[in-house]
């Protein structure tokens, strides 16, 4: 049971890690966070189709209610995972993620409920804490060439 949860957690962690680090960098396979971070005062027009490439899964919403100046919400497209649909929303202020909300998550099994009650809140806090750690590099058990893309080091290399 625990093993399964850890496996799921790892997958979602990779997803969240990818979502976490805004970029205009290439080669992010599953999700690219777009948006200028200019917030209410910036352009609020939709992303032009020419910029919305295959990896484009976020849209900016600068006109959502309750935002302070300089804040932007980024709403992800629904991602189809093997565990069910997942959708997240980020609140960004001055290029930093200050809030992560789960808009949609699998709910059909006991595992799903455990993820919702345990894994997602934990991952959200980790997303925020890793970002605030201001690190230059990451040390951990060796990752393979394939595992690199999901690593925190990969996010740093892309320009955290």
């Amino acid at each position: 049971m625990r093993r399964a949860i850890l496996a799921i957690t790892g997958t979602i962690a990779g997803l969240v890690a990818l979502l976490t680090f805004k970029s205009h960098a290439p080669a992010i396979p599953t999700a690219t966070v777009s948006g200028t971070g200019g917030g209410v005062t910036s352009t609020s027009s939709p992303v032009p189709a020419s910029e919305a490439g295959p990896g484009q899964s976020f849209s900016t919403d600068s006109q959502a209610g309750g935002l302070q100046t300089g804040e932007t919400t980024l709403t992800g497209q629904v991602a189809s995972t093997v565990y069910g649909p997942v959708q997240v929303q980020l609140l960004v202020r001055r290029h930093k993620i200050i809030k992560v909300s789960i808009l949609q998550q699998p709910e059909s099994t006991v595992h799903d409920l455990q993820i919702g009650q345990f894994a997602f809140p934990q991952l959200i806090s980790e997303t925020l804490s890793a970002q605030s750690a201001k690190i230059d590099a990451v040390s951990g058990a060796s990752y393979t060439s394939a595992g690199y893309i999901q690593s925190l080091q990969s996010a740093l290399d892309r320009g955290l």
């Binding site: 890793a130 750690a133 590099a137 040390s139 058990a141 060796s142 990752y143 393979t144």
Partner: protein
């Protein structure tokens, strides 16, 4: 703003079965610049030492089809260093795990440290080279700013367990996080399972990497041994989440 810091260059090179990440001054880029030479060195090490390549000098040496005297001098250098660590660690580190010649536990850290030294020789006073999670930091991140290295938490993927900081230092971690148990206790022939990860911090990455591997294999004896090491500190996480650290690790806590 996405992208590297002003005046800096980040580069990720797929080599040695992992990805080696460089954080160097922007002027070190270009070809053939200092970065390019360091990258070429790593590919040479891969071709010479890889036990996944039948035609590498290390594979041929292991099969007996090549004499040590006919290998590149770096091969003898590596094997001599492995023998030193083996003695220091009471045999918990070995260049012949499972009875087969395979000094991989030493080669990566040694190669990364050498790549960092090449950049220093080229005039860089501030850079890091990270070989799949084993890092050599040179100089400072910036004036009065130490380099900060996050240590991943093997029990919580995506999270950090600790941040260490310093100048001119190395950080190496051995663990089970990605590939499952793969460090064998040479004295039992069984995978070491008492620790989830061991991180060693100190001046040389070649040594830190080998010490981390040895400490992981030692399991319950690792703490006393790490405490006895001169100039090196350690931090470990057990599968149940318990942690320990050596007395001098505080000097590196950022």
């Amino acid at each position: 703003m996405a992208g590297p810091r002003s005046g800096r260059l980040r580069h990720a090179e797929h080599v040695m079965g992992t990805v080696v990440s460089f954080d160097v001054p922007a002027w070190a880029g270009g070809d053939p610049g200092p970065l390019g030479r360091a990258v070429r060195w790593l590919h040479w090490v891969d071709a010479t030492f890889s036990t996944y390549r039948d035609d590498s000098e290390m594979s041929r040496l292991g099969r007996g089809s090549l004499a040590l005297a006919d290998c590149a001098p770096e091969v003898a250098e590596v094997l001599a260093a492995c023998a030193d660590v083996s003695v220091l660690s009471g045999g918990y580190f070995t260049a012949t795990p499972g009875g087969r010649l395979d000094p991989s536990g030493y080669v990566k850290g040694w190669a990364i440290e050498h790549a960092a030294a090449m950049l220093t020789e080229s005039g860089s006073t501030a850079h890091t080279v990270n070989g799949g999670g084993d890092i050599q930091c040179v100089g400072d991140r910036g004036p009065g700013q130490p380099w900060r290295v996050g240590i991943t938490d093997p029990l919580r993927p995506g999270a950090l367990a600790l941040v260490v900081a310093g100048r001119d230092f190395a950080v190496a971690t051995s663990g089970v996080a990605e590939r499952g148990p793969h460090i064998i206790n040479p004295h039992t022939g069984q995978p070491a399972t008492a620790l989830a990860s061991v991180t060693v911090v100190g001046p040389s990455l070649a040594a830190a990497d080998a010490y981390a591997t040895a400490a992981f294999a030692m399991s319950r004896h690792a703490r006393d041994w790490a405490e006895s090491l001169d100039g090196y500190e350690a931090f470990a996480i057990a599968p149940d989440g318990a942690t320990w650290q050596t007395g001098g690790l505080g000097a590196y806590l950022g």
